[in-house]
Symmetry: C2
Subunit: 353 residues, 2 copies
């Protein structure tokens, strides 16, 4: 393992690290002692029927949900629900390449095994059942890779998921997204400082991480975000200052192997693995009341890719979020964003199932 | 200079290299002996009023126009028009970083000066006037960077351009495109083999050029191109085979400095340089009958960016080309592409001006 101060309480506030023991992985191998970083909000009621699971996106953690999505004024209301946000494996907070030590020392850094969306969901299910005593979920939600995990939950454990709200992400990753993520990964691995994953600090890979941020700038926001200079609302003077002051430091603080672990997972998200490649059959398993929430300006999870899947889910609804930021609208920067999410999630939570 | 067999008659067929003498550049400095590679089709009539100028896009040359756009069955009909295709400076055929020698030896490789769209247009105007005796153009057209040059012609030399048809490109480059091109350039310059532009062969930079191709894969085609596996029509077995057999060899054959010279130029295309930054005033200078031809699935020159400019051009028309390939639809791979372009260009050429 290596030290990286970004992944800790100073930057991520309160969370617990919970061991779920050994986690065998779909691709083979295992995590000897898998820890999940978990932030909870609210209280589980006596009926144990008010639990909501939130899973995290590429580079994201529970922090953004705590700061933007969860609160008494939001659909994710801790006065009503017991909200469990689980940071994904490879997030840098849960067991990840850079922090593997102790029993996990053998899988540190470049030796970290390949982890799939399904591995996360299996780990989360075990955590909820064994640690929190939660057997059914009033709602599963998440954005981007969190949407991938949401779909995986609804297909893998249909009886446990009463409602599902994937935001800006698909059940089966698209080939275009695979290539996009490949370009992101190559920006990192091509940096000589990456050294095959055996760098001594993320600072060794600052050039690669900066180029990785530069590719996010192209695909993460919409063309109109840049044209309308929406970054001015964030009090930057130029797009270059916005990159240097926001997007680049956001990513250069992170661990290269951790990002690559998540990127590999993202590329291969696919619920049709449960049904021999038949996506319709996989989505046909879903019994959760499902709202599919794309962002209209998303460059790499475009609305039409959501529609194609939503039409395969019984009783589902398409609820398109209007946000000029595009995919990174998930950050909730636009003042009009979270209100839309809240309205859709409230409608969904108010639906009897 | 260095040898690169891609840039020659074997791969590009017939063309002439014409010296237009010293070319002073907008950014300062000059090309001591600027050569333009020119392919012509048809004959200039006695009235000298049947000339059409075609300019080239990033990485493209006259070759694609010869093979796809020009012929007796096309709007660009050499039996009727005298069609002059000029390869842009930096294209690798005209004076470019890799081929600078003789009087240009002092600007070879990393010492090549910055060239702007306006420099190309000034060079083309001199070529047409001094070498071909052409003073007015029945049509100026081109795709992508060729569209940038088309707009520059129509704004800089309004009296000389009777009709203009920019395809899949804008008069003022967008900030999103600037960032996209930045990512493309950084894929090349970050390769240690690039060596600050002083490599001994493009093969030294094959890794960077391959990553550059990988970013083109993400933005050059549409998300639906990949989802519908349109590459199967080109007889590839997988998207990986398509990349390895088409897009990667396409770019790895090319010269890194040449691509970077074009990328720098592309980033800064802007007709508003003529009017102190006032785009409406610049486009208001256009007297050419103008058809604006975006491609509906273009990821980085989206239709709406064309519309915003088209609305500022008097008497212009928007003609949207339907092509699932997206921007690289310009290659004319889809059997439905060239027919649309021909129809629009024929309508335009048939318009009395």
């Amino acid at each position: 393992m290596i030290e990286n101060p970004f992944y800790g309480h100073e930057f991520h506030g309160d969370y617990d690290l919970v061991s779920i023991g050994k986690l065998d992985l779909e691709e083979g191998g295992s995590i000897p002692d898998c820890h999940l970083a978990v932030a909870t909000f609210g209280t589980l009621n006596d009926a144990r029927d008010n639990a909501i699971l939130v899973s995290t996106w590429y580079s994201g953690t529970h922090q953004i949900f705590r700061d933007v999505y969860i609160g008494p004024d939001h659909a994710l209301n801790p006065e009503k629900y017991f909200i469990v946000v689980v940071d994904q494996i490879g997030s840098g907070l849960s067991t990840s390449p850079h922090n593997a030590d102790g029993p996990n020392a053998g899988i540190a850094m470049s030796r970290f095994p390949k982890v799939r969306i399904g591995d996360d969901v299996v780990a989360q299910e075990r955590l909820l059942r064994e640690h929190f005593g939660v057997e059914t979920l009033a709602l599963v939600t998440g954005g981007s890779m969190g949407a991938q995990q949401t779909y995986e939950w609804a297909v893998r454990f249909p009886a446990k998921v009463l409602r599902a709200a994937p935001i800006a992400g698909t059940a089966q990753n698209t080939p275009h997204d695979f290539l996009y993520t490949k370009a992101l990964a190559e920006a990192i691995t091509s940096d000589p400082g990456f050294n095959g994953g055996e760098y001594t600090s993320n600072a060794d890979v600052v050039d690669g991480l900066t180029r990785h941020a530069g590719i996010w700038a192209v695909m993460g926001f919409s063309t109109e975000f840049w044209k309308q200079e929406v970054w001015r609302a964030l009090e930057f003077e130029s797009k270059e200052a916005f990159l240097a002051g926001f997007l680049e430091p956001y990513f250069t603080a992170m661990d290269p192997n951790d990002l690559l672990s998540m990127a590999w997972k993202w590329q291969r998200g696919d619920v049709a693995r449960h049904t021999g490649g038949d996506l319709a059959a996989a989505l046909g398993r879903i019994t959760a009341k499902t709202y599919v929430l794309p962002i209209n300006e998303d460059m790499f999870f475009p609305v039409r890719d959501h529609v194609a899947e939503q039409e395969l889910i019984k009783g589902s609804e398409l609820r398109v979020i209007d946000d000029i930021l595009g995919h990174l609208g998930l950050f909730g920067v636009a003042p009009t964003y979270i209100g839309q999410v809240d309205r859709h999630l409230k409608d969904l939570l108010d639906t009897k199932v």
